[in-house]
Amino acid sequence: MKRISAIALPLLLAGGITLLLEAAQRAGLMPVTIPAPSEVWSRFAAAPEVVWYHLVPTLASASAGYGAALVVSLGFAAVATIVRRSAGTITNAAIILHAIPLIALTPLLVIWLGAGFETRAIIAAIACFFPILIGSIQGFRAIDAGAQELMHLLGANPWQRFRLLALPSALPYLFASMKIAAPAAVLGTIIAEWAGADRGLGILMLHALFAYQPPQVWIGIIACCVVAILAYFTVAALERLVVRGHAGDAAE
């Protein structure tokens, strides 16, 4: 029952807003920049392959960037955990990198690296590394003090402590930050595409913008939303597979 309402209520709300927009547009209450949902739909239905054509490269560079961010962040978080003294430096460097507006950094990276797939993946990675790094450092810190004493007693080496204690106890934190980071990777890719690409959801939106086609822009927005939501739920599903035995896990 709970599950059904968790899905049904948001759908009902979205459906209600759609109907309201449709009615308002037909009554002439809305500006042309907000097209009727039916208009967006018929535009999409006329050529759905266009969305697919642009969706694939966005998904590819967002996933590549996300994967790279995950590996690099985990690596740095591991170093910050094992070599305690390096934690401050790593966090501060990450804060500085994170403080640079992505939209300002993107043109520079495009000049340096060219407007290729790798550049877009790197920008996606920059967009989503910060929450993963902070979440995993926090997770590695949240280790039960008794369990640490236990590992010391057992004579565990740093690698065993990391693999047998730090990593599993950090997983809930790690997944929370990975869920935040997943939509951010999509956002980063779209910003990168704006700075130069021939395919991608960002390009779809940019072209529609300059051609003054509000329905097409809306198709882009909705596609981005769907991708970001799917990214979130993919990570959430992975979490259910990986994390076991934690208190919150058995609740559902």
Binding site: L150, M151, L154, G155, L165, V243, G245, H246
Partner: protein, 258 residues
């Protein structure tokens, strides 16, 4: 009998923002191999700290500790120390079997046939049928049984117990104490139990070390000459009452003086 544990003139100080606090002052004691010792004292007398010094979790400020003739760091590296914490401290993502086998995994001795199997220890502590359960599915007493099994799997010479049943209710606690005595007798190790229960110390130990707080000092050593195996009925005997009274005098004599 051979000395399993010898503590000579051990002092432990902790640094504070302004100065230092002396947690343990000039502690000396010995425990023979196979003996069951107990340390009793009020909260803050440093009894848990003393146990951590023996286990090489903390270093002493001064003095010497020897376990079977070796310093604690060496005994720990050789896995001669089994430790049971106040909390079971099981890893929540590992099954009971995996938790009990953790020391074997860390020591890299999974193929060592001379060690008891996780199954044998599960049977020893009476957790048959729960090998594949997760810790959160077990009661506090059962979790502590698993923790005892984990402490014994590498066949330690010395079993250190830091108020292992302090979080349990009185009935479960009494039952667990009986179980612990049975396990101790079967495992054949030396044991040292930290407790703040007079009855528990009298019931379990061969030798009780009484401590006083601020700074933590050893005020008495009482030998308990009650027959083994100890039984619940024994707690009604005049001999047991005499021991309890002796312990109480040692504990409260210091309060009258203070």
């Amino acid at each position: 009998m051979a000395q399993a544990l010898s503590i000579r003139r051990v002092t432990k100080e902790f640094p504070l923002a302004n100065g230092r606090v002396t947690a343990l002052e000039d502690i000396s004691l010995t425990l023979a191999a196979g003996e069951f010792g107990a340390i009793i004292g009020p909260s803050g007398c440093g009894k848990s700290t003393l146990l951590r010094l023996i286990a090489d979790i903390l270093p002493p400020t001064a003095g010497q500790i020897l376990l079977g003739g070796a310093p604690p760091a060496e005994a720990r590296r050789r896995h001669q120390i089994g430790f049971v914490f106040q909390q079971a401290t099981l890893l929540p993502w590992r099954t009971i079997r995996e938790n009990i086998a953790l020391p074997v995994q860390v020591a890299g001795r999974r193929s060592d046939r001379s060690l008891p199997s996780a199954e044998a220890l599960i049977a020893l502590v009476g957790l048959e049928g729960f090998a594949e359960a997760m810790p959160a599915q077990l009661s506090g007493g059962m979790q502590q049984r698993a923790a005892i099994a984990r402490a014994l799997i590498l066949r330690p010479d010395m079993l250190l117990l830091d108020e292992p049943f302090g979080a349990l209710d009185e009935i479960t606690r009494q039952r667990m104490n009986l179980e612990l005595l049975r396990i101790w007798a079967e495992a054949g190790t030396t044991a040292l139990l930290v407790t703040h229960s007079i009855g528990e110390a009298a019931f379990m130990a061969d030798r009780v070390f009484v401590m006083s707080p601020r700074p933590g000092r050893l005020v008495a050593e009482i030998i308990i000459d009650l027959p083994r195996p100890r039984r619940i009925e024994m707690m009604k005997s005049p001999e047991f009452f005499a021991v309890v009274n002796q312990l109480r005098d040692a504990l409260f004599g210091q309060d009258a003086a203070a």
